[in-house]
């Protein structure tokens, strides 16, 4: 059986924290712990107006890929609420294909 994962197109992750909070709500995760946690790389200046500054949310071992929601035909709550609409859920093979098409600043998690 194929594994499922989360594809994150972090060119468009704005660091809005909606994934973190939606996940906490859904799974009743207490303060100090997270099912998915935002990381920040940068900001630093490369040259001229070119900067490195990326947010990437990283699912933790508390992430069950929203098993119950998915069973009900819903999207994982982080994917549903993501303000940047930069997260996708599905079988990793399919996501890997999409990843290849997207080019830069994409990451695939199979938590």
């Amino acid at each position: 059986m194929s594994r499922n994962g989360l594809l994150i197109d972090y060119q468009y992750c704005t660091g809005c924290h909606s994934c973190e909070v939606a996940c906490k709500n859904e799974h009743k995760i207490p303060r100090g712990k997270w099912g998915i946690k935002l990381t920040e790389v940068g900001p630093w200046q490369m040259e001229g107006d070119k900067w490195e500054w990326n947010y990437v949310p990283v699912p933790t071992s508390l992430c069950d890929l929203c098993e119950d929601r998915v069973k009900n035909g819903e999207k994982p709550t982080c994917v549903h609420h993501c303000l940047g609409q930069c997260m996708e859920y599905g079988p990793v093979e399919e996501l890997a294909k999409k990843m290849a098409e997207k080019g830069k600043r994409v990451v695939l998690f199979a938590p």
Binding site: Y12, G15, L83
Partner: protein, 716 residues
């Protein structure tokens, strides 16, 4: 939004995937709504307190009937003895208050004095007024296909080639009628961004151009763009010839702003100014989205005028993928306007600051905010005796300049009513009666984007539950109104009220709207050609000359320069070089975070976990010279006040500039005087002076002050 209620508790909030604008997305303030609704510190019953106990936690719960029995006779007595003008209604921003605090003042209480206590009215009002003077239209907003149910795929829609964000970061700032992350939708489809911002923001790192300017010098930059576009003959000749007034004067004026000179003023290189100007003039369509930085600037009217000029001479007004313009009459705005008929002309004439500031008081139905503080302090032209605070917590650094001065002045009021959801520093300091408000999950209502001035949708708010004994803004308006001015309030219920607003304009009643859920009005482009921008149905714009006034006839009549010009901020390295030696950093304030709406949400622990402390941003080189390391507590201080924050070292800010967040108070600290929930500890607005406003009465220097910064041992 879908709200799940179980046993009288809001258990879950979920975005609605069928909503044409959000498509189910929600920000973290909505996602934490259950925490807000059921927060143990929520006030959910009316309360009273003896006037001598102001500032003390000596509240007594009362019923609504008891509350009315205190409030109604007091208002009647004040009106009889001192006139209705002795009562002032303060209104806050956001929630639903914006729609109702004017009617509350005019039609329920009957006073002409409704006040938005932000120095120079510096939020949204200036942008609306400038648009009114120059274009005679409703609010200009970028075309993000908001009125099309099928959005960006609609055949009439054209994607903007570029969007210029002028002093705005809409991802965080949930701006009135625009869904901030629509910008991301547009970027994915190929729109290029241009940022005009003193900071290199995250959006800046994904933009084609970033003009990182010195805070407050925006008008010079705008004039230099116009200079290049005109001198290089890149402007839209047809649009200028047919629809614009005063082009030759404008051409002459902008000769004073060549890119080299403006580069010195703004710190933006001359070559970049030229490149950006050429890019926006030669790529169509495109749009400028203007932000709070236009309002919070004593030179802001000129800046706004120059930005609208840029939109006009590049031919981007009211075209697909350009800048949409609202019609002259606001959607559902009729009743709000009509509530003024409750006031006699003599009473209306007593509105504070109306005579002194004709430009402001023509466009805004309020008092002049700064004059209102003067009136409180001096008792001139008459003494104010009662304050009604509607969702306004303005001794917290939200909107007022020098909140400490307001705080002292407000002590002179004899009687105060505060409506809010939580006990705030302002309520703790002043309320004699506290009236609790429901959240939007707990009452019926409508939401209309841009307050109807250029609405992309109108939505129904359906009550999902009600915690405790609260009353919504409209319920309070109706109940108080029926007791004081029953002829103004011929509505049987909230539902009846909304139906009577909706029926004549849209032909639907409140229940229809509830079922339909979202109503999207049809948008028409090029209204200046079809005559739909003017009340007389003639082509053109709804201005004195019938054209876009590149040279303003009204400004001249009000004693202001008819053309845009640049003026240095009141305190800056250039205008006050001596002071700048002592306070050698430019201070800009108020950039937003996802975790709060101004002073709101500070008690929501999920959000405080993300942003626990007031923050100031400082360049690592500057911090090193001052011996400050990341996370240190620091003090920002100038000749007006001081404020603490945690230092965040970041290269996104210019070494000569620091930025501080606003809206801080600490619900976890003691509420009683003198602490007032720690409201004076990180009160950045104490550094901003009173009444440093533009000639027409608009603007204030919230975003371009000066200060010094030093490390402190003790934080908050």
């Amino acid at each position: 939004m879908k709200l799940h209620v179980k046993n009288g508790r809001l258990v879950k909030v979920e975005g609605d995937p069928d909503h044409p604008i959000s498509q189910g997305r929600l920000c973290i303030r909505c996602l934490t709504l259950p925490e807000y609704v059921h927060h143990p510190q929520r006030i959910t019953s009316p309360m009273k307190r003896a006037p001598e106990d102001r500032g003390k936690d000596k509240w007594q719960k009362i019923s609504w009937d008891e509350a009315w029995d205190i409030i109604v006779p007091k208002i009647k007595q004040l009106k009889k003895d001192h006139g209705a003008e002795s009562i002032v209604v303060f209104g806050g921003t956001g929630r639903q208050a914006c729609l109702y605090y004017y009617p509350l003042g005019f039609a329920s209480i009957g006073t002409p004095n409704v006040c938005y206590p932000l120095s120079g009215w510096s939020c949204y009002g200036p942008r609306c007024s400038i648009t009114d003077y120059i274009l005679g239209a409703g609010y200009p907003e970028i075309d993000f296909a908001g009125t099309y149910p099928d959005r960006y795929d609609n055949p009439n829609y054209v994607l903007p080639k570029w969007i210029m964000e002028w002093g705005k970061n809409p991802l965080m700032s949930n701006p009135d009628g625009f869904f901030g992350h629509s910008l991301i939708d547009l970027m994915k489809r190929g729109t290029e961004l241009i940022m005009i911002d003193p900071r290199m923001t995250w959006l800046g790192t994904r933009s084609k151009y970033v003009c990182q300017l010195r805070p407050g010098t925006d008008a010079a930059l705008a004039l230099a763009f116009i200079n290049v576009i005109i001198n290089e003959d890149l402007y839209d000749k047809d649009f200028v010839a047919n629809w614009c007034y005063g082009f030759d004067e404008l051409k002459e004026r902008v000769q004073e702003y060549p890119p080299e000179k403006v580069a010195d003023i703004t710190w933006v290189p001359a070559e970049k100014i030229r490149e950006v100007a050429r890019f926006i003039a030669t790529n169509k369509p495109g749009a400028i989205q203007w932000g709070l930085a236009v309002d919070e600037n004593p030179n802001g009217v000129q800046l706004g005028h120059a930005i609208l000029t840029l939109c006009a001479i590049t031919g981007n007004l009211d075209v697909p993928g350009g800048i949409t313009l609202g019609p002259p009459a606001a959607l559902l705005g009729k009743w709000r306007m009509e509530t003024r008929r409750n006031l006699s002309p003599e009473l209306w004439d007593k509105r504070i600051g109306a005579k002194e500031w004709p430009a402001l008081s023509t466009a805004m139905a309020t008092t002049h905010p700064d004059e209102t503080l003067d009136t409180l302090e001096t008792g001139k032209p008459y003494k104010l005796r009662m304050g009604w605070f509607n969702s306004s917590n303005f001794i917290t650094p939200t909107c007022s300049a020098q909140p400490d001065r307001w705080y002292r002045a407000l002590k002179s009021l004899e009687f105060n009513v505060v409506q809010d959801t939580f006990m705030t520093p302002t309520a703790m300091a002043f309320a004699d009666v506290f009236l609790p408000l429901p959240t939007f999950a707990e009452a019926d209502g409508v939401v209309v984007t841009h307050f109807g001035r250029n609405a992309v949708f109108l939505g129904a708010i359906n009550q999902a539950l009600r915690v405790g004994d609260t009353k919504s803004d409209i319920e309070v308006c109706i109940e108080l109104g029926k007791r004081l001015h029953p002829d103004m309030w011929p509505f049987d219920s909230v539902e009846d009220f909304f139906t009577k607003q909706l029926k004549p304009e849209l032909g639907i009643d409140f229940n229809d709207l509830r079922e339909q859920f979202v109503y999207q009005p049809k948008y028409e482009y090029r209204k200046f050609e079809s005559g739909k921008l003017r009340s007389d149905g003639e082509p053109g714009f709804n201005t004195v000359t019938g054209q876009v006034e590149l040279t303003s006839t009204l400004f001249e009549a009000w004693g202001e320069d008819a053309l845009p010009y640049y003026q240095e901020p009141p305190y800056s390295p250039v205008s006050t070089p001596e002071l700048f030696k002592e306070y050698p950093l430019v201070l800009t304030t108020g950039a937003r975070k996802f975790t709060s709406f101004h002073s709101e949400h500070r008690q929501i622990s999920t959000l405080r976990e993300i942003d626990p402390d007031p923050e100031m941003e400082i360049h690592p080189d500057t911090a090193a010279k001052l011996g400050i390391i990341n996370g240190d507590w620091v003090m920002m201080e100038n000749m007006f006040g001081k404020s603490k924050a945690r230092a965040k070292l970041t290269p996104i800010i210019h070494p000569k500039v620091v930025h501080a967040t606003h809206g801080w108070w600490f619900p976890e600290k003691p509420g009683e005087e003198p602490s007032l929930f720690g409201v004076w500890e990180a009160n950045i607005n104490t550094l901003v002076p009173h009444k440093h406003i533009g000639k027409l009465g608009f603007g204030c220097p919230m975003k371009q002050m000066i200060c010094k910064v030093y490390r402190i041992e003790e934080g908050i």
